[in-house]
Structure formats: C-alpha cells, structure tokens
C-alpha cells in the first residue's frame, strides 16, 4: 500500500492503529499541537483548588491560582521529574515535591529550594524553573482546554462551526449559556488504540447493531422496550457532519414545528423538567434550537454525548494498544436534585466500564485492535468507503453534511490526522483550504 492514509480512496492502513512508530509520531506531532480537553471549572471553583488531569500521556495539574486565574502545568518537578502532586484533586497553597522538596506556588512558580543559599545561590535563577506551563489555555463556557503549541490558533477558531454542537454539551438544557457542573469522572484502562474509540463518536451510527442487547432490554429513561435512549430524533433530519479541522459528529435537525418528545417517562418530575427546558430553549434560541446534539468527537480525542447521557470523554493514548478513558459527566448545576439523581443513575448504567451500552464498544475496540496487529492483517487496510461519492446537503448548515450514514466524517478526521503527522502549518491543520470557516471572535 503506497499511501497508508488514503482518504481519497477510503483506505486506511492498520499500521496507524497498531504500530509504535505511528504512536510515537502522534505524541510528537499531533498531541503537542492540538487543543485538548483538560477539565471543567466546576471542578476548581476556589483559589488553590486543583484537579490532576492528563494531556495524552502527560500528567498535568489544572489549578486555580491564589489570584483566581486558571492555570495548567506539567505535573513533573523541574529538578528530577517527580510528580509534584499525586492527589486527584483538592486545595493547596503549594505543590511540594516529595523527592527533594522543591516547592511551587499555585501559579506554577518555583518558590522553595532547600539549602538554596549554600548550594544554588548565583547559579539557579528560580524564575526560569517554574512548572512547565501549557502553550495556550482556553475556558470555553466552563470547559477548560489547552495546547502545548503557543502558536496554535484561538480555541474557537480551532473549534470552528463545531461550536454549535459542543455548546449543547456545555449549555443548560433550557438554552442558557454554560452553567454545567461535573458530577463525577470515570477513569479506566483498556487495550485498544485510541482512534477506534474516537471514531465511534465521529458519527459511526453504523455500529448500532453491536448495541442490540441494550436496545432489546430497554434501559432508557422511559424504559421502553427497544430503546437504550429515549428517541428525541424521530421527526428530525439526521445529519452526519465533518468539519475542516477534523471534528465530526452526528446530530438531528428538528422539524420547525417539533413539539416535545416525552423523555424519562418513568420519572414524571424529570420529564416535566425536560419539557420545560425544551420550550424555554426553543423560545431563547429560535431557529438554532432545532439543532439536537447526539454524539461527536472534537479532534483529536475528546468525544461527547450531547443529550442522553450527557458527558465529555477523553481517550488518552497510553501506548499504541492501550487507552485510558476519562469520562466527565455533566448536569445543569441548578437542575432540581431529583433530576440530577435520575440522570446520574442513567449515566452510570449507560456509559463507562459499567455502562450497559459502552461495554460492548470496549469489546469491539479491544478485539479490532488485537486482530489487526498480525503481519498478515497489517497488509490489509480498513475500509472507509461508505457512502463515497454521495452528494452532501448544501442547505443544512456548515461543514460536510451528509444525510445518510457515511465514512466521509472519519475520512475527514484522518485527512486532518495525516496533516498533523506531516507537520503542516496551522492553516492546513484547520483545513482553511477546504472550506471557508467562520471567523471566531474569542
């Protein structure tokens, strides 16, 4: 195979899913540059609050410094590399390295160096040995993102028109901007390549049959047989969209006259809440309220569930054949307690390693990775030719918009992926040659 990432013909080599060389290249050329999800401001409401997160294989500290400013830095002492924090979250005024007791303030500055006067005076300039900060950081509606590349474009320029979809994860159900709260984080490891997990959320509705068991038993909020989620998309136009910067998703565009579809019918109070939110959102957002998020993936590895169950999940590569999933579950911070309670139960039974739906995904990702590692297997590319050549809708919003299931969205993802591995400039990484993108004011 001459071109391992042949998006024109829809053929992608299995090498990119199994080889240590590709894994190394991803870490060096992709994960050092792309914007990555790190956490949510609701996890660090007060000065001194911190949450230890990850950016691919690096441990990082998300911290609100003593002055209230949000910071992210590498969780590694500048002296001999020890993690300066091994607690998951908390509040502190100093990060003290357990190894030789160098200490850092919450803005990352090196403060304490034991025996400084007698051992380092005149040599060590403390100002030059702060914890390594990220290149850029963005707080978008409470979600915190970072990149190691100081020259990266603004986060909103990076997000492009995918913003309208991410908004639905971050905004209140009634359309008020922001206002979400993280109610818990799942962290688990599984043997697979991270891209299989990311692809799953790029709008791979084709894998639905693998969830047949959970549809059969009916574990949705209304406990209807045949459903793992209450179907809010019945009268909506389903779309599968790829954006120039590699993001991809599937969503619904509701009929203009769409009325509320009962959800969580087992729980009248929750149904009532969502009914209220539906009409309030329609009133606030007008035409935009027709946009109903389902699932998507913000390039490269931040996936979301926009409505049921609502979460952001980061697929951290931990080697070519290992992933650490971190799933952040979200609710409206000011939702009634009874609503939050039903939602958290639904989230737990749907998503993550104990989730009745996601368990079957993990099984697929594991054995797809395993069965692709052999010498013979690697000679045969994966097939991404679904709906190739089908026309896109021109009137259903920005991006490459398909109205049937399609591999166009993952082909679009891998085109961007190849550009990172090729070391392209930001104009190319944002796909500025592909489609006009909206000017974002950040």
């Amino acid at each position: 195979m001459t071109n391992p990432i042949d998006t024109e013909r829809g053929l992608i080599s299995r090498e990119i899913f199994v080889s240590p060389e590709y894994h190394r290249a991803e870490l060096e050329k992709l994960y050092t540059r792309a914007w990555l999800f790190v956490g949510h401001e609701s996890q660090i409401p007060n000065p001194g609050d911190f949450f230890v997160s990850r950016m691919a294989e690096e441990s990082v500290i998300l911290c609100r410094d003593a002055r209230g400013e949000i910071r992210i830095f590498l969780n590694s002492c500048r002296h001999r590399g020890m993690k300066v924090c091994r607690y998951e979250q908390g509040n502190t005024s100093l990060f003290v390295c357990p190894y030789h007791s160098w200490s850092y303030t919450t803005d990352g500055k090196l403060q304490g160096v034991p025996l400084y006067r007698s051992l380092y005076e005149g040599t060590l300039n403390r100002d030059e040995w702060s914890l390594v900060p990220v290149g850029r950081l963005a707080n978008y509606k409470g979600s915190i993102w970072a990149t190691w590349d100081e020259t990266a474009p603004d986060f909103l320029a990076y997000l492009g028109d995918a913003v309208d979809h991410l908004d639905q994860v971050l905004d209140c159900r009634d359309g008020r901007p922001g206002g979400a709260e993280v109610i818990g984080v799942h962290k688990w490891v599984f043997p697979s390549n991270w891209k299989l997990a990311a692809e799953n959320f790029l709008g791979d509705s084709y894998h639905n049959p693998s969830h047949r068991s959970v549809d059969m038993i009916g574990m949705s909020g209304s406990a209807q047989p045949g459903q793992r989620r209450d179907n809010e998309y019945t009268n909506a136009q389903r779309v599968w969209i790829g954006f120039p910067a590699g993001h991809g998703l599937t969503a619904g565009i509701a009929h203009p006259d769409l009325e509320y579809t009962p959800t969580y019918a087992q729980y009248p109070e929750v149904d009532e809440y969502f009914r209220y939110c539906f009409y309030e959102r329609k009133r606030r957002l007008g035409e935009k309220a027709r946009n109903l998020a389902l699932v998507g993936n913000i390039f490269p590895n931040t996936s979301y569930h926009g409505r049921q169950p609502r979460s952001l999940c980061v697929w951290h590569p931990s080697g070519p054949d290992k992933v650490e999933g971190w799933r952040f579950f979200l609710v409206d911070a000011d939702a009634p307690a009874a609503v939050k309670d039903v939602l958290r139960h639904y989230y737990m039974r749907y998503s993550g390693p104990a989730g009745m739906t996601e368990q079957d995904d993990m099984e697929n990702w594991l054995y797809a990775s395993k069965a692709s590692s052999g010498t013979i297997a690697r000679r045969y590319p994966f097939n991404y030719q679904m709906a190739m050549g089908k026309p896109n809708a021109a009137n259903l919003g920005p991006g490459l918009v398909a109205t049937q299931m399609t591999d166009q969205t993952p082909r679009n993802f891998y085109r961007t992926y190849a550009r990172y591995l090729n070391g392209d400039g930001w104009d190319s990484l944002l796909g500025r040659d592909l489609q006009p993108i909206r000017r974002a004011a950040e």
Binding site: Q89, G184, V185, W188, M216, M219, Q359, M362, L366
Partner: protein, 173 residues
C-alpha cells in the same frame, strides 16, 4: 444471643454467601436475582487518592450522590441480567469464566430481622482467550431474614483500585 447461636448463625450466613457465589459462577443469573431484596442497594464507589487525614471524608465516592462504579437498585441489576441473557451482549458473549471467592467473614451487627456481614472478595474473570482481571476488595452486606433463607438488602463493594484496571465491569459482584 448465646455463643452457640451466634456460631450457628455465622455458619448459616457463610453457607448462604457460598451458595450465592455458586449461582453466579454457575451463571444462574435469574436464580441469583431471586436472592436480592426488592429494595436492594448495590454500591461500588470510586476510590480516590487523597491527602493523609482526608480518607474518611473524601476517599470514596458516596452512595446516593455523584458518580460511582455502581450505585443502583434491583431494577437495574435485573436489566443487566436480561442483557446478558439476550446472547448478543458482546461484552459477555461468549460468557466470561468467573470465580467468586469470599473470605474473612464476620457478623458485624445482628438484629432479629437483619444481619450485617463483613467479608473480603476476590473475583477472578477470564475472558475469551487471554483477558484476565482480578477484582479484590472489602464487602459489607446487609442480609434480611426471608423464611429459611436470606435476601441481600444492601451490598457495598470497596474495590481496591483507583483507575479501574479492567476494560469493563460486565460481571456481577
């Protein structure tokens, strides 16, 4: 309660817990559901790395709030059993091989209707060919007298892991 009565009760409880393990490991999932009280609370918290002195307050997620590995009721566990029994729940198709070991059994509290039992669990799961998972931890059960037998009214599973070192929690604990 006399010493003899207490020993007999402990023996009876041990037998019950071993019977339960046999049902699970023998894949008699519907029979296992019959051992669960209608108002069952089945809870496995997520464990967190916290500073010394904060363990009681912050180490484990709490039942009834936020996100845990499991915080559910009999309805949900029944759904899980139904899912396995569809034969197309691929995370458990083909079925895993599982052994539940229960040890360190102690009666922590005895009332005329309920007994609180502490134990350790070691659950071994082998899947397809090469997948192996070992789940070890502490368990507290509340067992309710049900005629000649018992019903599990509450089960709290303290798994000794932080990041879950398994791809799935697709088996019953």
């Amino acid at each position: 309660m006399s010493t003899i009565e207490r020993l007999l009760l402990k023996q009876e409880i041990e037998d019950f817990l071993y019977l339960e393990a046999d049902l699970l490991d023998g894949r008699k999932f519907r029979d296992w559901l019959d051992l669960l009280a209608e108002d069952l609370v089945y809870f496995m918290p997520i464990r967190r790395n916290v500073k010394f002195g904060q363990h009681d307050e912050k180490e484990n997620t709490r039942q009834g709030e936020g996100i845990s590995w499991f915080d559910e009721d009999k309805w949900t566990l029944t759904k899980r059993v139904e899912q396995v029994l569809t034969g197309v729940h691929y995370a458990e198709e083909p079925l895993s091989r599982v052994t539940h070991m229960v040890s360190n059994i102690r009666l922590l509290d005895v009332t005329p209707t309920e007994v609180t039992v502490g134990c350790r669990f070691l659950v071994y799961q082998n899947r397809v060919e090469y997948e192996n998972y070992t789940f070890i931890g502490r368990r507290t059960d509340v067992l309710r007298r049900n005629g000649e037998s018992w019903l599990i009214a509450k089960r709290e599973l303290i798994l000794e892991q932080n990041v879950l070192l398994a791809k799935n929690l697709s088996i019953f604990f």
